[in-house]
Symmetry: C2
Subunit: 337 residues, 2 copies
DNA sequence: TTTCAGAGGCTAACCGTTTAACTTGGCCCT
DNA sequence: AGGGCCAAGTTAAACGGTTAGCCTCTGAAA
């Protein structure tokens, strides 16, 4: 079933059918339009996207590049990824576009072959700043980087208020009377999400004039559960020194809680814990985890708006937007009087 | 950059370049092949997938249709979905195909517009048997239904040994000395995953000759956490009657454990619990949840093999494969002497 | 010496759309 | 009466590949 067939059935040329399909109603008479539309509906005809994108040089396909989903590690398989993916798909579809998904280990391995599809734009998740700039160059299409921190403003990025998140967690503890607070994170010395969160954490102590413990910073190799357990055990082993822990990821927090328990400390009676991301699991961990929440739908909408404004050619320069965070109170924190 | 350009640079016709690209090496001389390949490499040329699929009538695109990912509910946002998605993507890509993702609320809303892309095949997740048959008719392309149970064998399906899973859980409890075992599930009267699991559960009791408690079956509205909590509370309220619970989903089990706690029962000291799916979260719930595990990579590979054998036209009729399950022991179960 | 096969290559048609440019007739204005 | 303009079409070219069919040359077999 193609244009030509429809045209023949309607007794008009293919161009007329094409015009009707694309809403160019000033190019045809009312009767013609109705006749053609009737036939289209009856035959359930849908134009070929391939033919269309071939000649129009735009495919209405958006690529979404996301790190390794298949891994058994909670961080990859995390509901975070599923949800943001779901929201992005909805946004893309609501605009009449299609989503092509690509999971990658190394960001680079990818994109040349995606280019064969004349991709209109791309969302890239969790790419480092350096890689991001490379990628931006390789694919000369509009791209929005989600959770990437670039020092310069050449990239269009959408992230959350990571710094404020760290700040909120620390301030919450300080307000609750905690003074000895550990910070569990992957390395914070490079620009990125974790550094921001740590900066915010420090901000709160600075603002309050409270000294940080000299060894409050506990660096882990990754944000997986087992590393959290180790960190928790270390904290437990340091005696009653720390009364509270901020972690940069919920999964890490789940591990820390287990590690503390293994080390003989109760959560939250002996040590309070705050996570980051507010995964659905926070509601059914034990104890339920207090966490910094990011509004994923908002994040996706934000990213979508950025990308589609670029697609429309509104080159309002690269935007760098941050979505609000908030602290969600649950049972893993108690006040310290 | 297109075929014509490359052809001109190499001093040959487009056909020759095309042949070289597609490995038809018997159609060109060794020198020509090398010259053309060199130019292709230098210019980093990639042929247009749109043009190609237009004329070849196959796109190398596989559609993946998955229910609502964006929901905040653990069951949608579940790592299960993320992981199976990741594995499917890997399989698809390993075959040189592309993955188009579509999240749906109602399975039907979808597929006519996907057809515009000349999709070669599709994976459909979590579609009911009835819908599946409709869909199969609508899109006349090879499709593999994952986690769909059809009574007849007209559909190609891949699922897990759900019945055996239910059996394993029940048998494990019986072997551990439990006699009063509750079964928490969404309705089991219609064909589907849950019915299979329940059947397996009953099988074990029948085999052992142990009577089931008259009200052992606790039906929930869905497999979300809150429903699990309610079921757990109900079980707790029924006094010391039940010493063990089998649930049809881990998230439900997490809820049940919380509900039992709220009702004053300890897990596993008073009541033991087994989940289903073996989500990564089982490793960091409290207590760690014993669960029936499905091998997702295997499941994806299985589905992939089915689909690609259909794509190759090997019409070995519709296959209905089931992937193995096993019981993973953790801390949520103790023996009853 | 003719025949035949195969290597190596080319031309033309085709896939299903969109777009630019052209046609035709009717109407209005001068 | 002639020109200009608009509505409602049409035809032809283009997008970037693939495929079928044709051509030419060389070497070997009959």
């Amino acid at each position: 079933m193609n244009l030509k067939t429809i045209a023949k059935m309607a007794g008009v040329s293919t161009v007329t059918v094409s015009n009707v399909m694309n809403g160019k109603y000033n190019k045809a008479s009312k009767e013609t339009i109705e006749r053609v539309q009737k036939i289209i509906a009856e035959t359930n005809y849908h134009p070929s996207a391939t033919a269309r994108s071939l000649i129009m040089k735009r495919s209405r396909i958006i690529a979404v590049v996301i790190p390794n989903l298949h891994e058994d590690e909670p961080v990859s398989a995390s509901p975070y990824n599923t949800q943001i993916l779901g929201h992005l798909e909805r946004y893309i579809r609501s605009r009449g576009y299609y989503m092509m998904l690509r999971c990658v280990e190394q960001s680079f391995e990818v994109l040349s072959d995606l280019a064969t599809w004349n991709i209109d734009g791309a969302f890239l998740l969790g790419v480092s700043a350096g890689d991001a700039r490379e990628l931006q160059k390789m694919m000369d299409i509009p791209a929005v980087f989600i959770d990437t921190y670039a020092e310069d403003a050449s990239l269009t990025t959408v992230s959350i208020e990571d710094r404020k998140g760290g700040y909120l967690a620390a301030k919450y503890f300080l307000d609750m009377g905690h003074r000895q607070v550990a910070f569990v994170s992957t390395p914070t010395e490079y620009p990125g999400v974790m550094q921001e969160r740590y900066r915010g954490f420090c901000d709160a102590f600075l603002e309050r004039g409270t000294e940080l413990e000299p060894d409050h910073l506990m660096i882990t190799d990754n944000v997986f559960y087992e590393q959290g357990v180790k960190a928790g055990e270390r904290i437990a082993a340091s005696g009653p020194r720390y009364t509270a822990v901020v972690t940069v990821a919920d999964v890490l927090a789940f591990g820390v809680m287990e590690g503390l328990r293994l080390g003989g400390r109760r959560v939250p009676e002996d040590v309070s814990v705050i996570g980051f991301d507010n995964l659905p699991e926070c509601q059914y961990s034990y104890p339920r985890l207090t966490s910094i929440s990011q509004h994923l739908e908002e994040k996706a909408r934000c990213a979508g708006e950025c990308l589609f404004s670029m697609l429309r050619g509104e080159t309002s320069a690269a935007c760098n937007r941050q979505v609000e965070v908030e602290l969600v109170e649950r049972q893993s924190v108690i006040a310290r009087l």
